[in-house]
């Protein structure tokens, strides 16, 4: 239960070594250049049962979400965590996320997209690690930093890019924009601009899953919902209220905290009385797990267990992923507050470089194959931009559509007809 996850002390955690009062003290980087934490030497062989147990000695521990924490036994022949196909899938997804975001930045500065654009560079391991384990019918709820969650969930790059350009072929017909990515086909339930706002919606999606199983008797309904949000959100009431409800009713949801240590310019330490977010899970009766969010394989292991737990009906899990965003909060953020040493530290832990190294070192793939994937993604993005460029802008007639699912909601006009029957309605010029 919850007690399995009371965290022992970590050897080195970046945020505990920073004094909250001074932001400019150099970050105490854990000794020796951090070894790539996904390397097999440090991880144990997986048991075939669903009870994983992996414990690391050094920083960034992974805790298995299981009832009994077994003592770790070093094994002579470590086996790999992923197969070649899986490895390539993960690699491709992360490269897609990174390249897409870089392309977004380019397009923004060229004046193709406007407003607030929040990029995900550096955090790809979390998105890929979790979402690639989901089925189509599982749901994902995100925040404004949602492009990569959309891509991982399967929304085509073309649709996301068009949406960012504000074209009518975008996944939300151009009406949502960067911060409101939705896809009913892929069960991506947003895209929310206010932080914390999506967590109750995710709780509702999980509630539907439970309802379908227990009330509508769709016995095989085991859809899981993932809610992604940041460290700043973890001080918001909606977060706590939903932790309570999810644990109370054992909803099939995983709360994934992407702790990148900064909420725009507010350091997590300056905003939070107890910065260890995963500890807040057991307070509500669910396991709280901390994982190195720069390591896709670790994230994936934790995600597997958390998602399996939810599918079995055992309830929610709180997973805190320690990660970092390489860029500013948004494209409008000059990003002057963060210490360059801190940035350098995390840049050295780039998840894509790390996975690449893992794949090559373990002979799962070669330089050439990975380069081919890079090229493929580049072409995909070129195509996406071209598609978005050539797509039409929404016409005026689109203005009033979609305000109501049932447009009778615009009411009855003075002439006795429903306003939506007014021919001007379809032109977008009706008075409503």
């Amino acid at each position: 239960m919850a007690t399995a996850f009371s965290a022992p002390k970590f050897a080195a955690q970046p945020f505990t070594t920073i004094s909250p009062t001074s932001q400019h003290k150099p970050l105490k980087i854990p000794t020796a250049a951090s070894p790539f934490l996904g390397s097999t030497r440090k991880l144990l062989r997986l048991s075939s049962s669903s009870q994983l147990n992996l414990r690391r000695r050094s920083s960034g521990s992974v805790f298995a979400v299981s009832d009994v924490v077994k003592e770790k036994k070093p094994t002579p022949i470590p086996s790999l965590l992923i197969t070649k196909e899986e490895g390539l899938e993960l690699y491709e997804d992360m490269v897609l996320g990174r390249s897409f975001e870089d392309m977004c930045a380019q397009m923004y500065y060229r004046g193709k997209m406007f407003g607030f654009v929040h990029l995900y560079n550096g955090q790809e391991a979390v998105s890929t690690g979790f979402i690639k384990l989901l089925k189509q019918q599982d749901s994902v709820v995100s925040t404004y930093r949602d492009h990569v969650h959309a891509l991982s969930k399967g929304v085509p790059a073309r649709a996301v890019m068009s949406e960012l350009f504000g074209k009518t072929t975008g996944c939300c017909r151009g009406q949502g924009g960067s911060m409101h990515m939705f896809s009913s086909e892929h069960n991506l339930i947003g895209g929310f601009a206010f932080i914390g706002e999506g967590i109750p919606v995710a709780t509702g999606a999980a509630f539907t899953s439970k309802y379908k199983r227990e009330v509508l008797k769709e016995a095989d309904c085991d859809h899981v919902t993932l809610a992604f949000f940041g460290d700043g959100t973890c001080n918001n009431g909606q977060f706590f209220e939903c932790l309570n409800m999810a644990a109370l009713w054992k909803l099939p949801i995983v709360f994934v905290v992407e702790n990148n240590l900064w909420a725009i310019g507010m350091s997590h330490l300056r905003a939070t009385s107890d910065p260890q977010i995963y500890k807040k899970g057991p307070a509500f009766g669910m396991p709280g797990v901390h994982v190195d969010g720069m390591d896709v394989l670790k994230v994936r292991e934790v995600a597997k267990e958390a998602i399996a737990r939810a599918r079995r009906g055992e309830g929610p899990t709180l997973v805190e992923c320690e990660t970092y965003r390489f860029r500013g909060h948004s494209l409008a953020d000059p990003d002057e507050l963060r210490d360059p040493t801190e940035k350098a530290h995390y840049a050295a832990r780039d998840p894509i470089t790390a996975l690449k190294k893992y794949l090559i070192e373990n002979n799962l793939s070669g330089e050439a194959e990975l380069k081919a994937i890079d090229k493929k993604i580049d072409e995909l993005l070129e195509d996406a931009v071209e598609f978005a460029d050539e797509s039409p802008l929404p016409p005026r007639s689109q203005l009033l559509e979609n305000v109501f699912a049932d447009p009778k909601g615009f009411g009855i006009g003075p002439d006795g007809r429903y306003r939506c029957e007014d021919p001007k309605f379809t032109q977008g010029t009706a008075h409503v």
Binding site: G204, K212, N402, F410, P414
Partner: protein
């Protein structure tokens, strides 16, 4: 002379507003609309002792009419001996509507504080948890913002929740979810997700409940694009609106009133709904149009008695749909009487009356003989003291004075 009134509404096949009578010392006659699903084709007869004076200025004030509205002396087929239908109190009507919809569609569920085991703080959900189970009638913790958001998420993924605010005022805590998610997500998702929620709860000024429990939130919610608002006032329209709201694909906020839960009325046995976008003609008349909703309807009808005795003939419309306004019914009335009085419980500033005044002025300015008068509650937090509370809301005497003023 008898004038037969036929309510002309929009093409709403299922709307019907038959005669209803209350036990609360008022006899209100609602003429039937022409599109009635009910087989009985009776219609309302307005009787007066003399000729209805079409000229408000030269009125002969000596026709004393004993009832504010017509007496159904010889209504055909309806009521009397066979007494079809069943009598229900308003909260029971709401419960019946909710129960019927829950039977009809297994995706309809209820969530709110104390809706399950307690049966609802005003007993609207009494017995439902026993019947449908604890998951379908969900007792939530006290977290309005989150459980409203949860209802919205559930609606987006296939369910049809009815979210109860124990008091409408508590929904202020859910304003984030109602405004941002409920109203907007259908639009920002490009139409991919629908949010068929019903958000309901009692509001309005009660009997010395104090300022925070006596709020009128219609005005706060009315600007949110993407939602519909309706206010029920009789058991008949309470049940009808509840059912229509549940069946609607749009998010609907249903405003009930704390003081109206014990009104009794005879309801038909068969299935019916009240159209969400239509207003209800309560009493046809010639001299002045009085637009009202919820509890103020009863103050207006009380004032109407006095007015009729003084020789006026007010037309009373219960607008029911607070957003959007039924400009057809309202417009026809304005074109007939040329004078408008709005009586509401909402605050003066930015209230429903203010919006309605603007809408009528924009659309029917040419038909008005006098400026629109709007009687609203005072812009004060509702005081606890009974005397002060009484003068916070509009009282029948004020309505009478206003009509006299407007008809000069």
């Amino acid at each position: 002379m008898a004038a037969i009134f036929q309510g002309v509404g929009a093409a709403a096949p299922l709307s019907s507003s038959p005669s209803n009578s209350f036990d609360s010392n008022k006899s209100v006659f609602s003429p039937r609309r022409s599109f009635s699903v009910r087989k009985r084709a009776s219609f309302a007869v307005v009787r007066s002792d003399g000729i209805v004076n079409l000229n408000p200025k030269g009125r002969s004030a000596q026709r004393l009419i004993s009832n504010a509205v017509a007496t159904k002396a010889d209504s055909p087929a309806a009521s009397s001996s066979s007494k079809p239908g069943h009598e229900l109190l308003l909260f029971e009507a709401l419960q019946e509507g909710l129960e019927e919809e829950m039977e009809r569609d297994p995706r309809v569920c209820v969530m709110g504080e104390d809706v399950g085991h307690y049966g609802g703080s005003y007993k609207v959900t009494k017995g439902l948890a026993k019947r449908f189970g604890d998951l379908r009638v969900l007792d939530t913790p006290i977290a309005e913002n989150s459980f409203t958001g949860m209802g919205i998420g559930a609606a987006m993924t296939g369910l049809r929740p009815v979210i109860e605010g124990m008091n409408m005022g508590f929904l202020l805590l859910a304003f984030n979810q109602i405004s941002n998610n409920c109203g907007m997500l259908h639009y920002t998702s490009g139409g991919q997700f629908t949010i068929p929620v019903v958000i309901r709860g009692p509001g309005g000024v009660g009997r010395q409940l104090g300022a925070e429990h006596s709020q009128r939130l219609e005005s706060y919610f009315q600007s949110i694009p993407g939602i519909q608002m309706v206010a029920c006032s009789t058991p008949y329209n309470a049940k009808g609106l509840m059912k229509a709201a549940i069946r609607s694909e749009n998010p609907v906020i249903l405003f009930e009133h704390v003081l109206l839960y014990n009104l009794k009325e005879r309801l038909p046995d068969e299935d019916y709904i009240c159209n969400l976008e239509e207003a209800e003609m309560v009493r046809p008349g010639e001299h002045v149009t009085i637009l009202t909703y919820s509890r103020m309807r009863y103050h207006v009808m009380q004032a109407a008695k006095t007015l009729v005795n003084k020789g006026y003939d007010p037309e009373v419309i219960d607008i029911r749909s607070l957003k959007p306004f039924d400009l057809h019914t309202i417009g026809n009335s304005v074109k007939k009487t040329h004078r408008v009085l709005i009586v509401e419980e909402c605050m003066r500033t930015g209230g429903i009356g203010a919006s309605l005044t603007a809408a009528i002025t924009e659309n029917f300015n040419d038909y008005l003989d006098a400026p629109i008068m709007c009687l609203s509650s005072q812009d004060v937090p509702t005081p606890y003291a009974g005397t002060l509370e009484e003068v916070t809301v509009v009282q029948p005497a004020q309505i009478v004075t206003a009509v006299e003023q407007i008809c000069q």
